[in-house]
């Protein structure tokens, strides 16, 4: 006989979700988003995996309190950002360009024209993830998660005007580091 952690079945009879099945569903739907957002925030794969676990543990605990006043993704990414901020506050992290798993991939591209573009893309990625936290999080939420400024305002609990000005300032910093034309959109 083996003993298992069987998901609780507290009865959709009362309209309540099966929490374990719901958590698994959320992991399947948003797990990569959470992990990659954490990685871009923390720039360390181990810390990103720790953040991933912490995020879904919080979701597990708080699922019943989710009122549905935002999309599930908005709610989950908000928790992810807050967990990453807590981790940053509680640990010493050197602000360096990517050094671990991603860094190890440098030089893997094997076609001359592609190599140059790949290096440029990696540089963009590195510069974005090296931005000061305030600018990085709005850039990630806007360009990676495709949230609009209203949703970002809710996630970060800041005014929409502040979101726009941080987006603008973040782009200006990137422009200064990377060069390039006029950024449109946003």
């Amino acid at each position: 006989m083996y003993f298992l952690s069987v998901p609780k079945d507290n009865g959709m009879d009362q309209g309540k979700p099966d929490i374990d099945a719901e958590i698994e569903r959320l992991m399947n739907s948003f797990g990569n988003d959470v992990l990659r957002t954490s990685y871009m925030y923390l720039k360390d794969l181990q810390k990103a995996e720790d953040a991933f676990q912490e995020v879904f543990c919080k979701i597990y605990k708080k699922y019943g309190s989710f009122r549905g006043d935002s999309s599930e993704k908005t709610w989950i990414i908000r928790i992810t950002i807050n967990v990453c901020k807590d981790i940053l506050r509680s640990s010493w992290i050197k602000r360096v360009l990517l050094t671990d798993k991603i860094g190890a991939q440098n030089g893997l591209s094997d076609v001359e024209g592609k190599i140059i573009k790949e290096d440029e893309n990696r540089r963009l990625f590195a510069e974005v993830t090296s931005l000061p936290q305030n600018y990085k999080e709005v850039i990630l939420l806007y360009y990676y998660h495709d949230f609009d400024t209203a949703e970002i305002s809710k996630i970060l609990k800041i005014a929409e005007g502040t979101v726009r000005s941080r987006l603008h300032r973040g782009r200006e910093i990137l422009k200064g580091k990377l060069g390039g034309g006029i950024v449109s959109g946003g």
């Binding site: 083996y2 298992l4 952690s5 009865g11 374990d20 879904f56 543990c57 060069g179």
Partner: protein, 240 residues
């Protein structure tokens, strides 16, 4: 030269760079275990008053002011993730510690079964066994809640695939529930109630989540999870 305009393609650029950073089955499993195991402490601001309340209740219980036993709700553990919610009309059974699982069965104890036949011996002939496993899925586990030794009043079959999972749950009940807003389907001559919703995922395809319920011989049966209505209904029809 890298152009900041490329930031419009940041998502695809980043996903290519992070193509190896994905949620692995190991990370998922480890996280699920941690979720169920983690004993969350309340925030410090409410810890002291909460401790006072617990102390007060424990003192009153020790003085015999309450009919409860001195045992309190156990810590969460991986084995106690199966919360034994009472069926409608029944009193709630007390939860038990994970360690008690190995001892002789107590009220509401969670156990695992090695086969559907073993589960049927505990639940009775009203346990319906799925006739097949849907394509792409595997049967991960069969577990139950035993109110007396080797007498289960709930059995759960858990299935999963690479990116989806669902449960088949069977439980003894005293009252039936209604399912407003659900569609009625036929399950071998018995009405079933089904609802399906679409879930957005990261990939190009959408996932479906289905809930299907039906009743027979004072038992409630359900199929719930990330499968289509067709798969759920066909599976239900195969159950004997």
């Amino acid at each position: 030269m890298c152009q900041v305009d490329d930031i419009k393609d940041f998502r695809s650029i980043s996903d290519r760079i992070m193509k190896d950073i994905v949620m692995t089955p190991e990370l998922k499993e480890k996280t699920l275990k941690r979720c169920k195991r983690k004993n969350y402490k309340p925030v410090m601001g409410v810890l002291a008053p909460a401790a006072c309340v617990v102390l007060l209740i424990a003192t009153m219980a020790a003085m015999g002011r309450f009919p409860w036993s001195s045992s309190t709700v156990p810590e969460r553990s991986s084995e106690v993730s199966f919360v034994m919610e009472a069926a409608p009309g029944e009193e709630k059974q007390p939860q038990v510690n994970a360690g008690d699982v190995l001892k002789s069965a107590q009220a509401g104890e969670q156990v695992g079964y090695e086969s559907a036949e073993e589960a049927r011996k505990a639940f009775g002939d009203n346990l319906l066994i799925p006739g097949y496993t849907p394509e792409g899925f595997v049967l991960n586990s069969i577990a139950g809640v035993e109110t007396e030794r080797q007498k289960a009043d709930r059995v759960v079959f858990k299935y999963s695939s690479d990116n989806a999972s669902f449960l088949v749950t069977e439980e003894k009940i005293k009252t039936r529930n209604d399912y407003p807003g659900f569609k009625t389907v036929d399950i071998n001559g018995i009405p079933g109630y089904v609802k399906t919703e679409k879930i957005k995922t990261e990939g190009p395809t959408e996932q479906q989540r289905t809930e299907l319920h039906w009743f027979r011989n004072e038992c409630h049966y359900s199929v719930k999870g990330q499968i289509s209505e067709e798969v759920a209904v066909n599976l239900a029809k195969s159950m004997r």
